[in-house]
């Protein structure tokens, strides 16, 4: 907001006379802001202490961090995260974009279709995970269904396959979240200046070229937004994994969020748990900070232009 516009907002006058106003403004905001800051700092502090079942005072430096990074669980979880994160974001992005382009073609029943692709977002990840765990269960799910049809050699047992199980999570996550990208991309596609499209059509651009050279390039900012939000979700995924695979088979589909929970509440190693949580935060910052910097640079470029 420009300085002049910011200054035009009236000031909340006085203090004593305006106590109810100040209370109403400050109490919720301080609670909201305060808890964010204090909780983060507190967890950070615990990560440097030798806490186990209860928080303890003490200082162990980076010991908890090195311990966490050395555990097999964490390394598997982080590798899974890299795989899951990239696969999920790319697939979700492409699916969302594809759906948006399809829906942009002014087809009949567009509203119904949009509702269909978006309904998974209204449902809990626990529900999604549970249902998909049934569908992907080789004993009662898709594999059995196809087998019963006569195709006996059909195999779809990723759920119990150590190497492929992570992909079941990718599938379920894409099913749930593609609608998000679709909604945003559709809005972006619809907001392209029609004069631009007309000019391109007069220039002789066919539909494919029109999309590729004229329309899709304008979707860059939305793409970045979608990627950032999906990455944030991927890094903190907990519910879906718990419901779909429980981290298994074995520990094949562990993700950082489960490792944190495991340290904190199942093994009673609060210090390690806090360290793992901070590591998650750092991973997230590795995505968010470049994004914020990019936004900042973009804003300055348009301001100067």
């Amino acid at each position: 907001m420009s300085e002049a516009a910011a200054a035009r907002r009236p000031k909340v006058f006085g203090l004593a006379r305006r106590l109810p106003e100040h209370l109403t403004i400050w109490v919720p905001l301080l609670l909201a802001a305060g808890h964010i800051v204090s909780f983060s700092l507190w967890t950070l502090w615990v990560s440097f202490t030798p806490s186990t079942l209860l928080p303890e005072f003490g200082w162990v430096g980076l010991h908890n961090y090195t311990a966490v990074l050395a555990t097999r669980n964490w390394r598997i979880a982080f590798d899974n995260l890299l795989l899951f994160g990239s696969a999920f974001v790319v697939l979700s992005l492409l699916t969302g974009l594809g759906l948006a382009i399809l829906l942009d073609q002014r087809i009949r029943g567009e509203n119904v279709l949009r509702s269909i692709f978006l309904y998974p977002m209204a449902v809990s990840f626990v529900v999604t995970g549970t249902v998909w765990s049934w569908l992907l269960n080789p004993g009662v799910g898709v594999q059995k269904f196809v087998n019963d049809f006569g195709w006996m050699s059909f195999r779809f047992d990723w759920l119990i396959n150590r190497d492929m199980a992570i992909w079941t999570i990718v599938m379920a996550a894409v099913w749930q979240s593609a609608g998000f990208g679709m909604a945003l991309f559709l809005a972006g596609l619809r907001s392209v200046d029609t004069d631009l499209i007309k000019a391109a059509q007069i220039d002789g651009a066919g539909p494919v070229r029109l999309y590729r050279r004229v329309i899709l390039p304008t979707l860059w900012p939305i793409t970045v937004t979608v990627v950032v939000i999906q990455l944030q979700f991927a890094i903190t995924t907990f519910d879906l994994v718990r419901a779909l695979t429980g981290g298994g088979p074995g520990i094949a589909t562990l993700l950082p969020a489960l490792v944190v929970y495991d340290f904190m509440f199942q093994r009673g190693l609060l210090g390690r748990g806090a360290a793992a949580a901070v590591l998650m935060l750092l991973t997230l910052l590795a995505v968010l900070l470049p994004y914020a910097a990019w936004r900042h640079v973009q804003a300055r470029k348009t301001a100067r232009a």
């Binding site: 300085e3 002049a4 200054a7 035009r8 009236p10 000031k11 006058f13």
Partner: protein, 368 residues
Amino acid sequence: MSALTVRDVTKQFGSAEVLTGINLDIASGEFTVLVGPSGCGKSTLLNIIAGLERQTTGTIEIGGRVVNDVPPKDRDIAMVFQSYALYPSMTVRQNITFGMECRNVPRAQRNEAVARVAKLLQIEAMLDRKPAQLSGGQRQRVAMGRALVRDPLLFLFDEPLSNLDAQLRTEMRMEIKQLHQRLGSTIVYVTHDQIEAMTLATRIAVMRQGVVQQFDDPETVYNRPANLFVARFMGAPPMNTLSARLEATSGGTVAVIGGGETVIRFPVPAAAASWIGRSVVLGIRPECIAEPTRYFGDAPGATVMIAAPVEMIEPTGAETIVVLRLGDERALARVSPDLHYRLGETARFAVDTRKINLFDPATGDRIA
């Protein structure tokens, strides 16, 4: 007792100084117009007077009372905004009475006040409608009604006519002027339109980049502008500004434009004598250059005939604007619409030298 005094007001936004050294003394019943290009600080000044923003230094006095720390609702003012700022979820009646509601005025009194104001502005038929159902002009009237019903010491208008189309603007301009004459209220009016300023004001404050350039009645601002900026800003088409040299002759001081064959001489007041031998900027309004038969009065030397080549002709119906060349520079003339010219021909024009203004080329200030 003056209705409004602005004393040494400055305003800073961060490192930018938006208002510098504003001093205005406004008597009761005056219609003061703050005029200037966008960004000159006029709206900021109005907001400071209203109390919606706070000045960095300086005092505001309303009705003789220092109101620096007084909130807007207690300053005895009313304001009409450019976008009318009507409360969208309330009816016209509620919009007008909202202020009275906040002051706990009893219902009977409120209704009586609304009726009175509605009659004055002829909006009785729309009292129970919502702003979204009204046209631009009607909304403007409701906004004025909301201001009138407060019966304040000071009315503040922030570019109230900018959102209206040209015809409506002229109508509403006259209505505002009529209201002012009927009610004798003190008005401070902000606009970027210098025609509104000229037609409405008892005094005009021309502002530029946060500084008041001139604060005088319209006639003075128009005919004796304090500097080049005011000269060029007021009047459309704008004043011609030409470089000239002052020379002494037997008949008095003379301004010389151009040189060689195309030299033109105009008599100028003796007050400019100290500038003889130096170059100045000569300002003369287009309406002061007219067809050769125009009569400018009896004073000796008032009318000077010149010959100048015609470069362009713009007939507007009511008159013809002629672009001609004086010396080396272009100048505009406003000529009777009955005359016809050929491009490139040298024609004769009558010039009213009584209204010549001279300016210092370095500072832009008026010399004579």
